[in-house]
Amino acid sequence: MIEIKNISKSFGDTKVIDNVSYVFEQGKTNLIIGESGSGKTTIMKLMVGLHNVDSGEILYDGQNFPTLGVKEKQEVRKKIGMLFQGGALFDSQTLEENVRFPLDMFTTMSKEEKLDRVNFCLEKVQLTNKNKLYPGELSGGMKKRAALARAIANNPQYLFCDEPNSGLDPKTSIVIDNLIQSLTREFNITTIVITHDMNSVVEIGEKILYIYKGKHWWTGNSQEILKTTNPELVDFVFASGFMKEVFNAVRNK
């Protein structure tokens, strides 16, 4: 479980995150949604320590992350897997080397054990037998899946996914969403997904935090969001005509 308590962050004179609190539950896909520039990615970067909070607490199972020393932070980070928006695969390494990397760094596994684990992770993300390909040889969807395989290689307790289906076609998006949800349930991970894809919200949103102009604006789940009357959230969710039709269909049932 990860809990953020009253976190705030400013860049210069601009307050980007304003007193946000939330509990991200274990074994559930926790979504952070909001318009572009609302502060979603900043919250995630604050949570993993890529930015420092101005005030507030980020508790990883009770440990206040921002106040930890360098070594203690590294220990917490070893339990984190992260899927970056662009994949962030090491482009001079093959897929196998990418997925094996956290195992090389932090485990004492034998070569055979590492290979088994790599193959297991690649199979989970449907990239079996692609071990020797380089990131440059992969499509966008394959890169995301490969990055997901690397993120889960070292059995993370916390999984962060930054816009996992941006730039992907709807079919591949669903594959990625389902993968994230099944991994979360299977390994009882605390998963946090940043998205502004409404399809993902409806498909996998077990807990949803809506951020509006850097503020905690609404919380709920995928069912509740379709019935919301919060004007800003209604604007966001039903921005497209298609979603309005879905909404009306749900209401008329």
């Binding site: 993993v48 980070r77 990397f101």
Partner: protein, 246 residues
């Protein structure tokens, strides 16, 4: 103010670089990889430049020594002193600053802008140590060998071209390169090389590591790495020469 900001950030980075590695075996593999990347791949260019520069120094010396009071073995002596004291340790290091410096800065800079460094940090890895320490270690280890090869090939080039053009005889050249040899000058030369190796690898890594933006900024970091490495090589060359030779 800007200078102090960069100096402070550079020393903080260096402190992180030399903190305890997560896993020595992985770092060792990286060092071997970097020795190949930084050292072995630079060998052809160093060999060609050193050989021809040695030849040119010999021919120019022979052309300049017109007085009958200057013995012809002075040609060999001049070639040796030029190669040992200045050309190989300083000029070759300036060339390496261009080749290696831009390579390191653009590699690390590209990793920065594609979030690969963030990915390392989030995995709990000291990205500065993992990326930079192997480069510094490999540079400091391999560059003295490269410079020794440069010295040997430069003096050999002088011999081959000196004989081929009739600038001096074989006996005079060989006598010249042995005349008045003081071994401590090698100590001076290799101290310079070790210093320059550290400067090139660490400064280039610094500029790459703190790249922000996109492809254009990677290019700017690369240029800055070469420019600042070269300037610092020249400053430290002066300081070390003053320290050792006066």
């Amino acid at each position: 103010m800007n200078l102090f900001f960069h100096l402070g950030r550079y020393f903080i980075l260096i402190k992180r670089v030399f903190s305890k590695p997560e896993k020595l075996s992985v770092y060792f593999k990286q060092i071997i990889h970097e020795i190949d990347n930084i050292g072995i791949s630079s060998l052809p260019i160093i060999a060609i430049i050193s050989f021809f520069m040695g030849g040119v120094i010999t021919i120019q010396s022979a052309f300049g020594f017109t007085s009958p009071l200057v013995p012809l073995y002075a040609v060999g002596y001049t070639a040796r002193e030029s190669m040992l004291l200045e050309f190989s340790p300083t000029i070759v290091c300036l060339i390496l600053a261009g080749k290696i410096g831009s390579n390191i800065a653009s590699e690390i800079g590209s990793m920065r802008i594609t979030e690969q460094i963030d990915a390392l940090e989030i995995m709990g890895i000291n990205s500065a140590g993992y990326l930079i320490l192997p480069k510094i270690a490999a540079g400091v280890f391999i560059m003295p060998f490269l410079i020794a090869i440069s010295m040997f090939l430069g003096i050999s080039g002088g011999y081959v071209m000196g004989i081929a053009t009739g600038a001096c005889s074989s006996y005079e050249y060989i006598y010249g390169i042995q005349a008045f040899f003081e071994p401590w000058k090698l100590y001076y030369s290799f101290t310079k090389v070790l210093t320059f190796a550290f400067l090139i690898t660490s400064i280039s890594s610094y500029f790459g590591y703190y790249t922000h933006g996109g492809a254009l900024e990677v290019g700017k970091s690369s240029t800055a790495a070469v420019v600042y490495s070269s300037i610092l090589i020249l400053i430290f060359n002066f300081l070390l020469t003053q320290l050792f030779l006066t």
